[in-house]
Amino acid sequence: MAQQITLKGRGIVEGCCKAEALVSAKPISFLGDIDPKTGKVVEKNLDIYGECVTDKVLCFPHGHGSTVGSYVLYSLAKNKLAPKAIVNEKADPVIVVGAVIANIPMIDQIDISQIKTGEIVEVDVYKGLVKILKKWEV
């Protein structure tokens, strides 16, 4: 039986959830890359182009680009299109503030290369853990 993978990180915005992972190998600029009206990834250079971030555990290395990005996260939440949680390798202020005002659980210092799109993951910000669930646990 394969070893279950539990990743330890640093909790930033409190919360817990279990959902499907969507993993971008590249940094995300919420302004421009994500459409706040649909939750879809519209930046063609991203490996997750065309995917929808809604209700996913969105994993990406870090944010970049415009500081208006925080409000896009708030827009997504208001439109009920937000990710269930955000998992970063390194948190940056644009994403942190967005997660605070949009109230999206967030954790960083996670090696996101361990997580694959489509896997079901459990995020527990209080303990600072991201658990990749095996199929029979889902």
Binding site: H62, V97, V100
Partner: protein, 391 residues
């Protein structure tokens, strides 16, 4: 994090919801980055003013703050919005204008200055070593690197929170130790044009992550070229400060990378996506033009006229436009528009039927394919002017 009694009372909500939410933003950021305390700021600059980039939802957040009767505690300027007072008001749908005016009215109620520019430093230059809480990544890089003021790269809401509380958490580049260069960038061939500075910024931004570079080989250039370099650096990466004076290199051994002429040429090519070389819009003024840039444009325009079926926009702040009156007259006599308070990126060029944008701004070329659904041509100012104007 240490909070004074007064700060604690705000955090606990004793002074109301709005101040509490603002304080929470500041404290959360402070804790994340191991700040020990909050420090007073001289000014704040807010991004996220344009209705096009803001959309619907944040209006509610801003409205709630304004309703709670919150006012700015320090001088606080605003980034560009999506309309200018004249041209775009006539050409874009009325309902968009109304949405934008609603947002501006909320900011006005909170006491923000109606500056609508990404270059607030042309209105009032922050003092060296003063602490600021600025959003708008290009202005942050410029303030830190060229003006020697100290500001982290705030998000729209964190700058808003800082404007209302009058403080910012003491972390990042507010501390001298975090301002030292940690990577040496050698630019192997001399670069002159603003597009080369911009292209250098885009390619460096992608590889530097959050490192602080000292860039060798650009020391004697103009503030405007450094503005283009910083704007591009910030759009493509997380950098908020660069050094460019050799005197700042104090004999430390730093990791070293070099950039060759070929890298810059390749970056310029990649920022040009247009299959055709005939733009619908020639756009100069990202970041907003300085007085010097407006003068330069006016001198080249001379008595020439803008080509048929081509728009030519020069974007700046109303503050600079007012100071540049005689140059503005000359530029507008050609059929060009000197547009204030907004720019091509934060307005709806697609609704004006613009499919191809030619610009001298690497930042615009980087953003326009997604934010304007436009193809781009990145070219130096003199080529932009040649394309925009009849012989």
């Amino acid at each position: 994090m240490y909070l004074t009694k007064e700060e604690e009372r705000i955090y606990d909500g004793e002074l109301g919801w709005a101040k509490q939410v603002c304080m929470k933003i500041l404290v959360k950021l402070g804790e994340l980055f191991d700040a020990e305390r909050l420090i007073p700021i001289d000014s704040a600059h807010i991004s996220g003013v344009s209705y096009k980039t803001l959309g619907e939802a944040p209006t509610d957040f801003l409205e709630a703050l304004a309703k709670a009767n919150e006012k700015t505690k320090v001088e606080a300027t605003l980034n560009p919005q999506s309309f200018d007072p004249e041209y775009l008001r006539k050409r874009l749908p009325k309902q968009l204008l109304q949405k934008q005016l609603d947002i501006l009215q909320i900011f006005e109620r909170m006491g923000f200055k109606q500056s609508y520019t990404c270059t607030p430093y042309y209105i009032r230059k922050p003092e060296k070593n003063s602490h600021l809480a600025w959003a708008e990544s290009s202005a942050v890089v410029y303030a830190n690197s060229v003006l020697g003021a100290w500001t982290n790269r705030e998000g729209g809401p964190s700058a808003l929170a800082a404007a209302i509380i009058g403080k910012t958490p003491d972390y990042g580049v507010h501390k001298a130790i975090n301002r030292k260069p940690n990577i040496l960038v050698e630019v192997d061939s001399p670069i002159k044009e603003e597009v080369e500075y911009g292209a250098l910024g885009i390619s460096l931004g992608k590889i530097l992550k959050d490192k602080i570079p000292i860039i060798r080989g650009v020391g004697n250039t103009s503030g405007e070229n450094l503005k283009h370099l910083g704007a591009a650096l910030a759009s493509a990466g997380m950098t908020n400060l660069f050094h460019y004076k050799d005197s700042e290199l104090k004999g430390e051994t730093l990791e070293k990378i070099s950039v060759e002429a070929n890298d810059i040429r390749k970056a310029i090519e990649e920022l040009t996506t247009a299959p055709k070389q005939k733009p619908d819009l020639v756009f100069v003024g990202c970041p907003h033009c300085s007085l010097k840039e407006i003068r330069e444009i006016a001198n080249v325009v001379g008595g020439k006229k803008v080509r048929d079926n081509t728009e030519f926009w020069v974007c700046t702040s109303c503050h600079v436009k007012e100071k540049a009156k005689s140059y503005v007259q000359k530029i507008e006599a050609s059929g060009a528009k000197v547009i204030t308070d907004t720019c091509a990126v934060v307005t709806w060029t697609d609704k004006l039927g613009i499919e191809t944008i030619m610009t001298n701004s690497a930042k615009t070329a980087h953003y326009a394919p997604t934010l304007n659904k436009a193809n781009t041509i990145l070219a130096p100012l003199k080529e932009c002017l040649k394309t925009a104007l009849k012989e």
